[in-house]
Point group: D2
């Protein structure tokens, strides 16, 4: 990335768990980065790494490219369009490109795209695939949609964030890609629960079974990093059942809008609903394994095994 790092002045809006990990990578690559977070304490680790702190979102308006990671559609609208928001900068200053890496609704995304266009600012929808640990391991990816020239400008920095990004088209289509990804993730998690319980009731340890599966052509980073949860029954949330249900709500709504039947995703949606109903809403969605075992009459116990998650940072 030599030569790129000083070309553009970058900003980061929202330094929660995901944002911190992602921004850290830009700093590691030598980028010029200003950061803003509502509660400034959360931006501290980045400031120690060389980021410039600013005290309002509006102060990021003078940056060329601003990345955003916030928690919800409403947060995004407030941070960008609200009072003291990013687009309220002095003298009509505005970034050339916003790169929104949050998971927000298509409607919120389209609204912001329209409103900032008047100021000459382009929006890239760039929802991220992966959790903070995946980002830290350098294995994050993103789907990106919006004006192609904006993508070309931002691509070098997006590439620094992980294993690479894919431009999927104009407008908000990257939002749909993210929803598809998460539908797939839920289906895979449930299928994994089914076969893992079958293997265990057949006399195979979860550790041996999942080791074999991970090594096979079916293994993915995802099946790998969920393996410790399935083997040792660690349902400490990385992504709660309730949040996954929300993504299934949105994904199936998109499918309905486009008139696409989704028999498997629909049944998994109901199983996740059942998981929430049985009291696992705040647990990690890996608790699908627990639900599956209960309905198979199997009492799970942790195998207390050392299992790799495939996300060790090797530097």
């Amino acid at each position: 990335m030599v030569g790129h790092e000083n070309e553009h002045r970058l900003g980061w809006l929202g330094t929660g768990r995901m944002g911190v990990e992602m921004a850290r990578r830009l700093l590691g690559a030598g980028c010029d980065l200003a950061v803003y977070n509502r509660s400034s304490a959360k931006a501290e680790p980045l400031v120690r790494l060389g980021a410039k702190p600013v005290s309002t979102a509006a102060e990021l308006a003078v940056r060329d490219i601003v990345f955003i990671t916030v928690g919800s559609s409403d947060d995004l609208i407030r941070a960008v369009l609200g009072r003291d928001g990013l687009m309220s900068g002095p003298n009509g200053a505005a970034p050339r490109v916003l790169v929104d890496c949050s998971t927000v609704s298509t409607e919120a995304s389209a609204r912001i795209r329209a409103e900032i266009a008047d100021r000459g600012t382009a929006l890239l929808a760039a929802p991220v695939m992966g959790n903070p640990k995946v980002v830290r391991a350098g294995k994050m990816t993103a789907a990106v949609s919006g004006p192609r020239d904006a993508f070309v400008m931002a691509e070098p920095y997006l590439t620094m964030l992980g294993r690479g990004v894919t431009y999927v088209g104009e407008g908000e289509v990257a939002r749909t890609v993210k929803l598809c990804h998460n539908l797939f993730l839920g289906v895979v998690a449930q299928s994994l629960a089914e076969i893992t319980v079958l293997a265990e009731k057949s006399g195979i340890s979860r550790q041996a079974f999942l080791a074999c599966l991970n090594q096979s052509v079916m293994g993915s980073l995802f099946t790998g990093y969920k393996t410790p949860a399935y083997v040792n029954l660690d349902f400490e949330p990385t992504f709660t059942a309730t949040l996954l249900r929300k993504d299934f709500d949105l994904g199936l709504a998109a499918a309905r809008e486009h008139e696409v039947p989704m028999p498997v995703a629909a049944i998994v949606h109901q199983l996740i609903q059942g998981l929430v109903g049985r009291g696992y809403g705040d647990a990690d969605f890996a608790a699908l394994l627990q639900q599956q075992a209960e309905s198979a009459g199997l009492a799970l116990v942790s195998e207390h095994a050392e299992v790799p998650d495939g996300l060790d940072v090797t530097e």
Copy 2:
């Protein structure tokens, strides 16, 4: 593997498409290998690479370890226990270990295990995950079950076959692992069909969508090597819908025996049945995409794109 390659005298029984690719790897590693196939022409490529041809299965009885890849349970029983079969060798000669890499029933496997034990021969059930192209790319894996000492003896050669094997326990349990693997494969293929059609109806090319997914944490060798079929609608069979249905029959029967509900696998079983009923029985199971598109009112056309399958042999 220096030092190993001459330790044991190996045999290979059944050199169909899978067998040829697997045996080729042993020869490439310098092993001493005798080969037998009912139709000897199919063994020719291996003979050219240094394998010793024999004219009956019985002649393999003098080998230490014999690998088997045949088409069905009946073929296996005939090849091992039948007239002129492997166990009919002269003077009571018999291999110390049989490694059966075929996909056969648990019953056939258990029967052979019992009958050859009398002759002092151990059976390793070692069903393979991957198709011939996967083997050629060096990415095959296998679950292995049977006596642990037999596994220790065979492991160096099993390791030569691909990316490694996993010992999963005594008896026939590796058969169940294979069934679980194939249930998972079917579920993943159907979910992939659902989300790919949703992405396409949302305005994203299948190529861009699957590139993004393959790069993400959800990407696997499998999603990679099915991508050309999904993008270019190549349903030339690597594994037919009818064969996948058979594995679902067996997998769901195992689940029923062990009293494990499989809501997602069960619905996919019915969708595969529908695929067969609609006339796609002899097509590759990737035709699940076609069925899914039809029920979404979408007319698929090939994207005629150059897409990598992730299985290029890099030597």
Copy 3:
């Protein structure tokens, strides 16, 4: 009903196919009934039976109880709250009770309930179970919700409409009962399709099979009156697949709101979506049989049989 028929002055707003059949029953019982329909021609049959035609909805305001059957939530709001609508009557005149027998959203229902309360008018939500032919056969039923005293006042007339009505509680809950009813109807139709195709492929005529089922403890008026469609493949719509999909949309949205997993209804929702996708959207939902047969590789032909539908009017 002696003694009742002249107690209250009744009105009917909206005399489409359902409304005509229902209102006809009140006239048959000797009620004093005024009728209004946007296109007055449709009210003619009722006028010939003694109904008093009026030329605006507002003129119905002087009636004690007004029944409504319109096509959609918007139609209902316009007819009741719009210019020249029912509540725009002269001198603040307003009926004491509105009985809405349409299938409308809970939101529309609640809005009207609130707005007419100011004028002292109570709303009964009374969605009807059954199609026009069911009404004509005297077998219609309804769930009713709203103020109990309004129900007591309207009950004698509601009872005249068919086989009886059930008071299910306050507010809009009758709307939910109707949605539940239609979810059940869709599930039953799909299950009927599955078993009818299984019976036929086993060598049993659809006529014999359904005759047997209808006579059994599982038989209902519904299974009876769909039998001619299933036997003779008459998919002339009584209720289209697209309309049934809409009711599943609403029913599953209600289930989601109340956090109730619906595994079977959800899969039927997707099958109905597939039916629409395959081009049967404007056919009767009985085309589920056709879809089921296609996925079973069975070419259906009409059995050209005389089959009763259980709805003959016997007077």
Copy 4:
């Protein structure tokens, strides 16, 4: 039935709960009936009503038509073909027609049909729809298959058993009709559980909801007689979850054999499996309501309501 009751001499083999209720109806119609049961005490009530007790199945061989109700395929084979069985009568005596009203496998049925044909005896497969209480209420039905002339001979007596029987064809096809019936029953029970829980969480009592549904076009004898269980949570078994699972095993096996996809029945099969896995195997299958409520986060309590089951004997 004047004139019929003395035409043929009848026998009844197996007087368990179903058999007693059915045979009682023949006696009530004045038929000449001999009865046999392994444990003779169970036949006592019938003897008090005029039945002639015999002490071996073989003694029934002199009767013209013998009805059978036993518990399993093995019981049937033993009772008919075993030592001292029905076909071991003296001097080659054998009934002209056996009417088997049990639920047995197609294979057992076909075997008996073949073996008794040599003795000139015809078999009618006549599996019964309904439980003992349904029989007592006079509402039992049956599908009948076998030689048509045998059916013509037995029909008057079959008709006495309940609401009528349906001839569905040659051979064992009536067995398939019974399986289809029970698949339908399971699907309806699950769908009823889903919508009843939705109604309750929406604020409607189960009693009011089911009263409304039973009265509607969707109501059946079945939905009626399960209503007390759903309202008052009485899961005292009439038919256990484990037995229903067995019928689903057989029904889905028949569907697989005939290559008929059954998406809804398959998902219900898995839900019943889950019910068994969660410990409700010996409860009535109405416990599907309990499972559904648990996954909806709803704690059910009995409504302690007086609800009719529609099976009162009105004599």
